[in-house]
């Protein structure tokens, strides 16, 4: 019985793999876009560059206060009213990226603010321009300090790709859902398998990020993070 179930689950792997590729694609692209946007917005906020900092503030408040599903639905349903269409995958990518950017702006803003002001002055006193100061002094420290928060964000984005099933994106969760309909006697087993796949990815990537954090840590300034 068990062996038979396992065999059936095993046979589902190619289909799940197909969905997993979409999950990966969505996670990676939206994270990369959101990280870039998040860093920029974090700096705009931390340096209080008016009026952009104000727009970022409003953006953060709105995007963090709205369910992801609603963001997806707006991106999916509203554009046709204006005569264009965003396909499912792109709508999902945009929704994830827009929301994650709002969260990441907070992560980076916090990290930027935690760099002592005196270091910026020291950089200036050596003749560094503002850009060089950011590039060589601020950003390297901000990125190090952001790894724990970013690692969390990765976990959230990866699992929230599953919400894209609501607008019909065939990612891992939707593949699981489709299989569950066909194999209604082992629904729980299928979803447990899907959960296991998510878990393995999260666990592995967080381990890798911990390793990176350790490798680039500032001696004497490490923050202990339980993973």
């Amino acid at each position: 019985m068990l062996a038979e179930t396992l065999a059936r689950l095993y046979n589902m792997l190619p289909l799940l793999w197909d969905g997993l590729q979409t999950t990966f694609l969505l996670t990676l692209t939206s994270l990369v876009a959101a990280t870039i946007a998040g860093v920029v917005m974090g700096f705009l906020r931390a340096y209080n560059i008016f009026p952009l900092s104000y727009f970022v503030y409003v953006y953060e408040k709105v995007l963090r206060g709205v369910p992801l599903l609603v963001i997806f639905l707006i991106l999916w349903l509203v554009p046709p009213d204006f005569g264009f269409r965003i396909d499912r995958l792109h709508a999902a990518f945009l929704g994830l990226a827009l929301r994650s950017a709002a969260y990441q702006a907070q992560i980076f803003r916090g990290a930027i603010n935690s760099i002592p002001r005196g270091q910026v002055e020291a950089a200036k006193s050596l003749g560094m321009s503002r850009t060089k100061g950011i590039q060589h002094i601020i950003l390297p420290q901000v990125l190090r300090l952001s790894i724990p928060g970013w690692s969390n964000e990765f976990t959230i984005v990866l699992k929230d790709t599953s919400i894209a099933l609501a607008i019909g994106v065939t990612e891992l969760m939707r593949r699981g859902d489709q299989l569950a309909v066909l194999h209604s006697d082992i629904v729980l087993e299928i979803f447990l398998l899907v959960a296991l796949i998510y878990f393995i990815i999260v666990f592995t990537v967080n381990k890798i990020l911990s390793f990176i954090e350790e490798k680039f840590r500032m001696k004497g300034y490490e923050v202990e993070v339980e993973r």
Binding site: G118, Q119, A122, S125, L126, G127, S129, I137, P140, K219
Partner: protein, 250 residues
């Protein structure tokens, strides 16, 4: 030969008038010490010189160039003004060596290996060759400040500004920093804000007493400590003596 000339500097923070027309000059190789009560604008004056805090009025001339001129690229001239901070302000993510070499590499554009060697020399000069690979958090206060001095020296500045370099240090760590500063005296032009009267009397060419944003009195250490003109100066010196002990050399 005048290295640094400060003319009639004014600076206010809102309602608070911190500097009300301060002038001074510094010749090549000279050491001048700025003293005065807290909040009288000593640090602000130093920060006005390298424009970390731009003055409201007045001029700063460095080796014949007016660096308060708006058309001047201040980043270029800041390289020529070493600044040592009260709280060190080392770059926490970089080793002692990298703290010293980063300005050479990223500002002066010196090739990495050469910058490394130069930085090592500077660390040697402040007695920290063995700490090159330590991070700031692994160093004592005195060592941090010596790295701070090495970092400023590495840029080969025309003038060094010291903003209360020993005020944040434990008493037993002050000596090592003052030793390094003494070793520089005569070699490089220095303007030092400090309460270390021993250092002032043994190293300074001139002592400048600043209060309420103006220069109250200035003179050679001998004249200043033994026979000051102004009553206010005497009063201040007696207070300092009570607080920090006599002006004995450390």
């Amino acid at each position: 030969m005048t290295m640094l000339e400060v003319k009639n500097i004014h600076k206010a923070f809102g309602e608070l008038q911190v500097l009300r027309g301060v002038s001074l000059d510094l010749d090549k190789g000279e050491t001048k010490v700025l003293i005065g009560p807290s909040g009288t604008g000593k640090s602000t004056l130093l920060r006005c010189i390298n424009q970390l805090t731009p003055p409201d009025k007045g001029e700063v001339w460095l080796d014949g160039v007016e660096i308060t001129d708006k058309s001047v690229d201040i980043n270029k001239y800041r390289q020529e003004i070493g600044f040592v901070f009260q709280h060190f302000n080392l770059f926490n993510h970089l080793t002692a060596l990298k703290n010293v070499s980063i300005g050479l590499e990223k500002v002066k554009g010196i090739e990495k290996e050469e910058a490394r060697e130069r930085a090592l020399e500077e660390l040697k000069r402040v007695g920290l060759s063995d700490k090159a690979n330590q991070y700031p958090a692994e160093l004592s206060g005195g060592q941090k400040q010596r790295v701070g001095i090495a970092r400023a020296l590495a840029m080969d500045p025309k003038v060094m500004l010291f903003d209360e370099p020993t005020s944040a240090l434990d008493p037993e760590l002050i000596g090592e920093v003052l030793e390094v500063m003494k070793s520089l005296a005569g070699e490089i032009s220095m303007l030092v804000v400090t309460h270390e009267m021993g250092f002032a009397s043994s190293v300074a060419n001139e002592i400048i007493f600043l209060e309420n944003g103006v220069v109250v009195e200035k003179g050679s250490p001998k004249k200043f400590f033994e026979n000051p003109d102004k009553d206010r100066t005497k009063q201040f010196l007696s207070k300092i003596a009570t607080l920090y002990g006599d002006s004995g050399d450390r």
